[in-house]
């Protein structure tokens, strides 16, 4: 684990961006750039982080940063990686460059999954970071494949007949691990040293690596912005967001949660679940708790701990 003293004081992701107060994406970008150790290029899918950090003629990025479109961060990263290799072959380039792709859950779970799958299969040397705020927050809180069951979004509203999103969240890390990649991990910005350690591990791997990090969104999840990191911690402490890593197929639980808080502690802070806290829909809370328990059981089993 890294210590605070080891981290650079230099800010490569600068202040002045227009992300909301309490936005997880800004914290995650800043921590990521504190983790890098050498020449690094960022690729950013369309989304909150992209639109808020590079409003021309301003930029928050003190490293090269490329945005092409929504669904193709992994493909663009593939091209950049291949170009450096090609330029090195004809002696027009002599530096080792790390490439990090940032994308939200929409750009990863949904519209970007094909490009991600292709890049993982081809084995490009890059780190893909999915900052997951569990809906299309940039366009006004629409449901994605990462939105949890029961959450109210503008395309899965808490209706009179259907109380929020009926479906459950996709298993992104499971999908990535199935490609046989060397490193995949989940993280939460509340556990900064775990996250930074993982970014470094992901960059050290030769070949693709994926980090799936919880990104609290005060606007879309509807909570007080000062509670952002608290929510990110509760996600872990309720076992809603198991923090683990998979190195060469071997699962390891990084943050043990021996006495978990009930998931309602995590849910009740967020307006997107408010409709479930009524006598008629209380059973929904049980369904979410059941999903959390089952998911935890599955992950810990993979980690070799019951």
């Amino acid at each position: 684990m890294v210590t605070l003293k080891e981290l650079p004081t230099e800010e490569l992701f600068t202040s002045g961006h227009r992300l909301c107060a309490g936005c997880g994406a800004g914290t995650i970008a800043r921590m990521t750039l504190k983790a890098i150790k050498g020449p690094t290029v960022a690729v950013n899918a369309t989304g909150c982080l992209e639109v808020s950090s590079t409003i021309y003629p301003f930029t928050s990025w003190r490293i090269p940063w490329v945005h092409v479109a929504f669904e193709n961060a992994a493909a663009v990263a593939s091209g950049i990686e291949a170009a450096y290799k090609a330029l090195a072959k004809r002696k027009a380039w002599d530096k080792d460059v790390d490439i990090i792709a940032f994308a939200g859950d929409g750009g990863t779970f949904d519209i970007g999954i094909q490009a991600l799958s292709g890049a993982l299969e081809r084995g490009h040397d890059f780190l893909y970071i999915c900052y997951d705020n569990e809906a299309y927050m940039n366009t006004g809180i629409q449901r994605s494949g990462a939105t949890p069951h029961g959450a109210s979004t503008t395309t899965s509203p808490a209706g009179k007949v259907i109380p929020g999103k009926p479906e459950f969240k996709k298993d992104l890390i499971g999908i990535c691990v199935a490609h046989g990649i060397e490193y995949a991990a989940t993280a939460s910005p509340a556990y900064w040293n775990d996250y930074i350690t993982k970014v470094r591990k992901g960059l050290e791997v030769k070949g693709p690596a994926v980090i799936h990090v919880f990104s609290p969104c005060p606007l879309g999840m509807r909570f007080e912005s000062e509670k952002s990191i608290e929510l990110a911690r509760l996600a872990v402490q309720t076992r809603y967001w198991p923090v683990y890593e998979v190195e060469k197929g071997k699962y390891k639980l990084n943050i043990k949660v021996p006495s978990p808080k009930p998931v309602v502690e995590f849910l009740k802070l967020q307006g997107r679940f408010r409709h479930l806290f009524t006598p008629e829909l209380q059973h929904e809370l049980g369904i979410i708790q059941k999903w959390v328990d089952e998911n935890w059981r599955k992950i810990t089993q993979l980690c070799g701990k019951a």
């Binding site: 020449p39 290029v41 590079t54 003190r62 081809r122």
Partner: protein
């Protein structure tokens, strides 16, 4: 320029790419372009090129990877057809907007539905306003020559725009021709490797692809218009350089019989060969007909079209794509606009032909010439838009 190789249109493009010191090729197979990717894969797997080859999982990712590589300073090539080009549509605009000098072989094929794998121009015409330089070749030789020139045009610092080199699906892509090719050293001298100061370099960090709101976006688009105007000058210069090297004279368009022709056909690609064959026969019979074949479709050669048509009384523009519901089809609309801007009162009518690979027989072309001669004589157009060779 001594060697002659038996190459299909697709192979001619692949061979030109092999000789062009291309750093990165990212592509996805699709009929009738597949031979380009296959031929290039053999070069890669047999160690004949140093190119990084990314065999992507879709055309969308192919062009996305090309954009990433091009921004990093690499010389980049891809190829596609039809549905593949349609899937790339979003990226086409980004490639030109981010000023990526990518070269793409487009093997023109009909668009679905109904699905059809044969040649027409629906694919590229559907993306004609994407900000790319667009070139149409008549045969495998032209495909080879233009591919070599395309890299130099695209990468010129005053241009920095992507270029598509179009060939007709199957008619050119799969037909074997004798192609005069340059020696590798001659190509090296003409093209060298890509040189650019604008790269993604961690020592000189830049932000690429930022958000442009209404206060700046328009200026970026205006600059693209200017870049295509620059391209017009650069194409002429590169054509001259290529002529010095090979003796082959290219330009914005090629005309036949225009010195005394009263009626002419203007068309793109392989059909120009058939049209010239028919025109030759008709001229032997004393009919004053000619053929105009634009090589360069974007930037549209306004001046050249106006000049080439100055002695004509009637012009037929052949479109191998349909602009449904439009007053005339893509190529014809451009020709009419160019003539109108120059206050020319030439009689122009439009013929849609060959959709989905429908064969173009010399007799069909002969009938069009007859119609054109009649318009030249009477000054009257009976049908402004006709359909050739279709059951109606």
């Amino acid at each position: 320029m001594s060697k002659v190789m038996g190459l299909t249109g697709d192979e001619a493009i692949a061979y030109a790419v092999k000789q062009s010191n291309v750093d990165v090729v990212a592509a996805y197979p699709i009929t009738p372009q597949t031979i380009i990717v296959e031929a290039f894969s053999e070069y890669v797997y047999n160690g004949e090129v140093k190119t990084e080859f990314i065999c992507t999982e879709s055309e969308h990712s192919a062009l996305s990877a090309c954009i990433g590589a091009s921004l990093t300073g690499a010389r980049v090539f891809t190829a596609t057809s039809s549905q593949g080009l349609a899937l790339m549509h979003e990226m086409l605009y980004i490639a030109s907007g981010l000023r990526c000098p990518i070269v793409m072989g487009v093997v023109n094929r009909a668009l679905s539905a109904p699905i059809n794998i044969h040649g027409d121009h629906s694919d590229m015409m559907g993306s004609r306003d994407c900000g790319w330089i667009q070139i149409y070749a008549e045969n495998a030789q032209e495909a080879y020559d233009w591919t070599l020139q395309a890299f130099k045009i695209a990468e010129d610092p005053n241009v920095l725009l992507p270029v598509s080199v179009n060939i007709d699906g199957f008619i050119l892509s799969h037909a074997l021709e004798g192609v005069k090719v340059l020696e590798d050293e001659e190509v090296d001298k003409f093209l060298s490797t890509r040189k650019t100061d604008l790269t993604i370099d961690p020592e000189k960090p830049i932000t690429v692809g930022a958000l442009f709101l209404p206060d700046y976006y328009f200026e970026i688009k205006r600059q693209q218009v200017e870049a295509l105007k620059e391209a017009y000058k650069v194409i002429r210069r590169i054509n001259e350089e290529y002529e010095k090297l090979t003796g082959k004279s290219y330009g914005f368009l090629e005309s036949y019989g225009l010195d005394d022709a009263e009626a002419a056909i203007l068309c793109l690609g392989s059909t120009a060969g058939t049209a010239r064959f028919v025109a030759k026969n008709l001229r032997r019979q004393g009919k004053k007909v000619g053929v105009i074949k634009p090589w360069v479709y974007r930037p549209f050669p306004v001046e050249e079209v106006v000049k080439a048509t100055e002695n004509l009384k009637a012009l037929t523009v052949l479109d191998r794509a349909c602009s449904f519901g439009a007053p005339s089809n893509a190529l014809c609309s451009d020709v009419i606009a160019a003539l109108y801007q120059s206050d020319r009162e030439l009689k122009v009518f439009n013929v849609v032909y060959g959709l989905g690979g429908r064969d173009v027989a010399p007799l069909d072309i002969e009938l069009i010439f007859k119609d054109a001669l009649e318009v030249a004589e009477t000054g009257k157009i009976k049908e402004p838009v006709k359909f050739m060779g279709v059951r109606e």
